[in-house]
Structure formats: structure tokens, C-alpha cells
Amino acid sequence: MTPKEPHIAPELYAILAKVSDPEIPVLSIMDMGVVRSAIIDENNYVTVQITPTYSGCPAMDVIGDDIKSALAAAGYSATVELVLSPAWTTDWITKEGRKALKKYGIAPPLTAEADKDVLLHGKRLVPCPQCKSTHTVLVSQFGSTACKALFKCLDCKEPFDYFKCLK
């Protein structure tokens, strides 16, 4: 499925870009790709559609509230709707988002193919966000949240999270 570019009213972009993912505070929800549309109607009322990364993502309620208060601070009343379709994919994380993840200590998702090689066949392809070594191993398929797997670096010995590829 080829995801449509999200439709965001230009005057809302900067406001929404200031809202961050509560579990990865360095990442804006815009860079995360969870905002699917944001429109202003003739009465200046805003409707924002967001989509969850995982069905059980506990951050969604918080993100919804944060969006509403950010918009309220800018003078907009808003409704936030949760949409399931099309399903979120890690491809929607922007380039800036991937950079922010790495800087924060989370290895960004590899391509779907490489991801499979790593998680299924134990290949060493995930670069350690601390020292860049790919001498890394999977510790657990489930990390600190459902969207991440736990890895450790065999060179610098640091454990780190890897953002699993979701297609």
C-alpha cells in the first residue's frame, strides 16, 4: 500500500510539530508520522486525525490530549480522531525523525528485508547508536515498548533499543 501524503493545513504544521511523542520526547509527532490529517473548517474548528503505531500504544491518549492543548494555546478548538486505516508503518518516520531517534540512543528501523535477517536469522546488521559497531545481538524481540526490540552491543557493551520495522 502506498501511503498518501498526510494532508496538514500549513498554518497548523508548526503547532503540531511542537507536540512530541511522550515515550520518545525527542521525536515530534510529525516526524513520527502519526498525524494523518489536520484541517480547519470555516468556523476555525480543527479536526486532527492520528493513527496508532501499535494497537495498544498507550501514548495515543496522551498525544491526543497534547495536540488539543497545543492547539488551544494557539487559539483553536479541536477534535482528535483515531483512525486505523491505512495502518501505520515505520516508513512514515521522516528522515529528521530517524536522526532524532539515533541521537536519543534508539537504533532506527532498517529496511524490511534487513529487519527480517536480524530478527529471524540473527544477522548482525543493526548499528549500535553509541559506537556505530554492527557487532550487536538481539537480546529480546520486545523492548521497553511494543515497537522496540532490545539489543546489546558486543563492542561498547551498551544495551540499546532498536525500533522494529513495521510494514
Partner: protein, 250 residues
């Protein structure tokens, strides 16, 4: 028709709710930090899917009109989950065997639900399929690890598989309502992948050096609301807050 669809959705979602609750019991009690986190993450996925199903179901029902009411305000006989998912965490082998026997079914089911004529169910399935694939990978890996591990782990996982085997056939039982939903194009005809299910199980058990049970004595009842002795205890845990403080919200 609304009521039929409501019942059908519960038949899917209640499995997730009860299994999610069972896995949630391991929070802080898993055998290792990694398995603890994995089980609770899987629980979270299942409960996330449940919320989508129940929110949809709540639009179709007169009496229970919110996801919370559907989750918390039913009596035991009104839960339509299969018996497999309510079986206890006797030990880690039972947790993994239960998960494995359910995950293989769950993935096949969700794959087929993606072809439903009901667009809300399709959207939920499209979201869930990615998560369920991870679950299946996790439980299958552990089946192999325990089966092909030490003598003790082998024996324990074989015992768990043997004990839980009797609950597998019920996954494929079709109630009259299921049949109707299949005819309407909304429901999943599980009969179409029953052989695939047992073949996949057999193949992974083989890899794990485990024997596939031959018993043909199967238990059923959950899909009609008749549960095993464990169900009441699960519900008393699950419903405690809502019954003690009616209408409470987080």
C-alpha cells in the same frame, strides 16, 4: 443483524481480552526480565486490538454502549472466548504452549479477516496482522528453545502441549451465528485453514523435537459461554475495580 455482528465481534475479541489478562498476570512475575516484558507487550497488543473491537461492538449494542462496559460489565456466561485462552500460567511452559497454540490460529484468522466485507473489521485486521506476526514468532521460537533445550525443559513443554491440546479443536467450532456471518461475507470460515493450522503446529513441534499429541478427545463450551473453573477467578480480578467503583475511569 446488528446483534449478530455484535455477538460475532465478541467471539473474536473476548479471546484477546482473556489471553491479555492472563499474560498481564505475569507483569513483574515473568521468569526473566526479557520474557516478562515480552509477555506484557503481547498482552498490550492484544488489549489494544480489543479496544478497537469493543469500540465497534459498542456502537451495535443497546445495553452495553462503551468499550469499558463490554469489557467489565458482563457475567461469565456472556463471555464467548474459547477455553484455551483462560487456562492458567501453571508454569512458563504452559504460558508458552497456550500462546503458541493460539498465535498460530490467531494469525491465520486475522489474515482471513482482512478479506471480510466489513470495512471496520478489515481495518482492525490490517493493523493487527503485523503485531500477531511478532507474537507468533516469539512463541514459536520459545517452543523450539524449550523443546530442543534441556531434558527438563523438553519434558515440561511436552506436558504443557499434551495438556492444552484438548482445547485446540474448539478454535474451529462454528456456532450458528458464525455460520451466518460467514454467509454474509463478514465472518471468517475457519474450516478452510484447520488443516493448515495443524500442519504448521506439527512442523514447529517437529523442529522442537516434540511429539504432536494424537488424542482426539476435545473440550468445548467457551464459545457458548460455558467456561472452565478458571474463568470466574479471572473475571473477579478483571472486573474488581469497575464493580467496586461503578463507572470509574482512569
Amino acid at each position: 443483524m446488528k446483534q449478530d455482528l455484535y455477538t460475532y465481534i465478541l467471539g473474536i475479541a473476548d479471546n484477546n481480552l482473556i489471553l491479555g489478562q492472563r499474560l498481564g498476570e505475569l507483569c513483574g512475575h515473568g521468569p526473566s526480565l526479557e520474557t516478562d516484558i515480552a509477555c506484557t507487550n503481547i498482552s498490550l497488543d492484544l488489549l489494544g486490538q480489543v479496544r478497537s473491537y469493543y469500540q465497534y461492538a459498542a456502537q451495535l449494542n443497546e445495553r452495553l454502549t462503551s468499550e469499558d462496559q463490554i469489557a467489565f460489565m458482563r457475567t461469565e456466561r456472556e463471555y464467548l472466548n474459547v477455553l484455551l485462552v483462560e487456562q492458567p500460567n501453571t508454569n512458563f511452559a504452559y504460558t508458552i504452549a497456550r500462546q503458541f497454540l493460539y498465535d498460530i490460529f490467531h494469525k491465520l484468522f486475522i489474515q482471513n479477516l482482512q478479506n471480510s466485507t466489513d470495512q471496520t473489521l478489515v481495518a482492525i485486521a490490517n493493523k493487527a496482522i503485523k503485531e500477531v506476526s511478532y507474537h507468533q514468532r516469539f512463541s514459536s521460537d520459545w517452543i523450539v528453545r524449550l523443546g530442543d533445550g534441556t531434558d527438563e525443559s523438553h519434558e515440561k513443554i511436552q506436558t504443557a502441549i499434551d495438556d492444552l491440546w484438548t482445547y485446540t479443536n474448539e478454535l474451529f467450532q462454528l456456532t450458528p451465528n458464525d455460520e451466518q456471518m460467514i454467509k454474509a461475507g463478514k465472518g471468517v470460515n475457519t474450516a478452510l485453514f484447520k488443516d493448515t493450522y495443524y500442519a504448521q503446529i506439527n512442523s514447529i513441534l517437529n523442529e522442537a523435537t516434540l511429539a504432536t499429541p494424537q488424542s482426539k478427545w476435545f473440550q468445548k463450551g467457551g464459545k457458548e459461554g460455558i467456561h472452565t473453573e478458571h474463568m470466574g477467578y479471572i473475571l473477579s480480578d478483571l472486573q474488581y475495580m469497575q464493580r467496586t467503583y461503578p463507572n470509574m475511569e482512569w
